[in-house]
Symmetry: C3
Subunit: 179 residues, 3 copies
């Protein structure tokens, strides 16, 4: 494998504002391949609009943008083989599906199939949401369990898995590309 193909599927996980998106963007840019950004966030209020704008400013130009708040599996099957794809993030996607009352286990299985079939190199950003006190709210408990299971499944398929804390990587699986 050359450097651009030092991984096939990478999972970048971490807490809120841990620097995981920035780390994932640098990983994609480092491949030197055409960059595709699959955004899963929905701009439903000012806070989200501000967050989306911050992420857009941070990653800069040179990305082909695809919006896939729910149809992420379809989006992954449609990318070009020459691209490196950044999915940011699985947590937004999963919470969109939860709000749409979708079957989360089925959606997760479909996503994992699409990650296998996807012709491109893919970097998925996700969140750790299970290291706090048990939420009072049953829906929040369902969500954190579904998120945890999804992270396990994608990490199981990935050849690179990295936790980011305070902007710094902890490699969980595989090896970071040199340089």
């Amino acid at each position: 494998m050359n450097r651009a193909e030092s991984f096939r599927l990478a999972l970048i996980t971490g807490g809120a504002a841990s620097g995981k998106s920035r780390f994932a963007e640098a990983l994609v840019t480092g491949t030197g391949r055409p960059r595709c950004y699959i955004a899963t966030a929905r701009a439903w209020d000012d806070e989200m609009r501000a967050k989306i704008a911050r992420h857009r400013d941070q990653r800069g130009s040179g990305w082909r943008l695809v919006e896939a708040p729910e149809a992420l599996a379809d989006a992954l099957r449609a990318v070009g083989a020459e691209e490196t794809v950044l999915v940011d993030c699985l947590t937004m996607w999963l919470s969109n599906l939860l709000l749409a009352e979708a079957d989360l286990d089925r959606a997760a299985a479909d996503l994992c199939g699409a990650l296998r079939d996807c012709p491109a190199q893919v970097v998925c950003v996700t969140n750790e949401v299970g290291l706090g006190i048990v939420p009072d709210n049953a829906l929040a408990r369902r969500f954190r369990d579904a998120q945890g299971r999804l992270n396990q499944t994608v990490a199981g398929q990935a050849d690179l898995a990295v936790a980011v804390m305070a902007g710094l990587p902890l490699v969980l699986k595989g090896h970071l590309p040199d340089g």
Copy 2:
């Protein structure tokens, strides 16, 4: 030490749905010794009953089951020296004691004594609950402090400590058995 005794006491920690139970089960099974499962969960509602059933299906057969929602120290002193014991989990046990208004520090000290005295090889599963926003609720704050202190104490006694994230191990102390 042969492989079966590559550790005496292991602590497996992580967030909710992080894969820590599955990892701990594989660690116990890998020893090749008779397996004892000490369950601390109480089936007080449908959500817990479903969770208990999922864990039971996941670990499969071949385990001697002991239920110890509160009397965990006694249960540990009563196991056979030839067994490898999985305690799943310290967080359920601690929350049962909190609800029973027990003295958590005294219970933790008693548990640590029992872990020292226990004739068997032991793997304890526990949770990280302190990496979210400070809870509004004073009881929740007391619980997360007690859980954090308990994890520190057990990890201090353990010769193997592992954090699991997205199903993948981060070794905090000691060495994973080969294979």
Copy 3:
């Protein structure tokens, strides 16, 4: 660099009750230099008073105490070059500023300047607060984003960054001093 100067700025992060303060105290004590403790907590209720007393008992005597619940940057600029300074912790400081309705980004930039200018060796303790479920409360979300960004910035400046879990260190950047 001799052992006392094996780092210039260290960041010790982790969850509540993870043992991060104890670890940071040992790191400072290990340098063998005069110790300065910059406390950022405010004793506004019995719970905080008890926590402050516990920390004081834990670290023992031999520390010069400076209280800086808000004016942390000034305090850092005023320490002696021969000292090793423990700031415990950035999370309390940031939450004091949030309650005082200060500009958090500006305060963070000022703090980072002071950390660069500070003549002494410094160890900062901070918290991971972003690995739970998204808080319902908008102020809590603002806080966890500000905390995450602050941790990234300080870690970026630090030559040693360590996450503590169950009392055990995971090195994120740099190398722990020997011994």
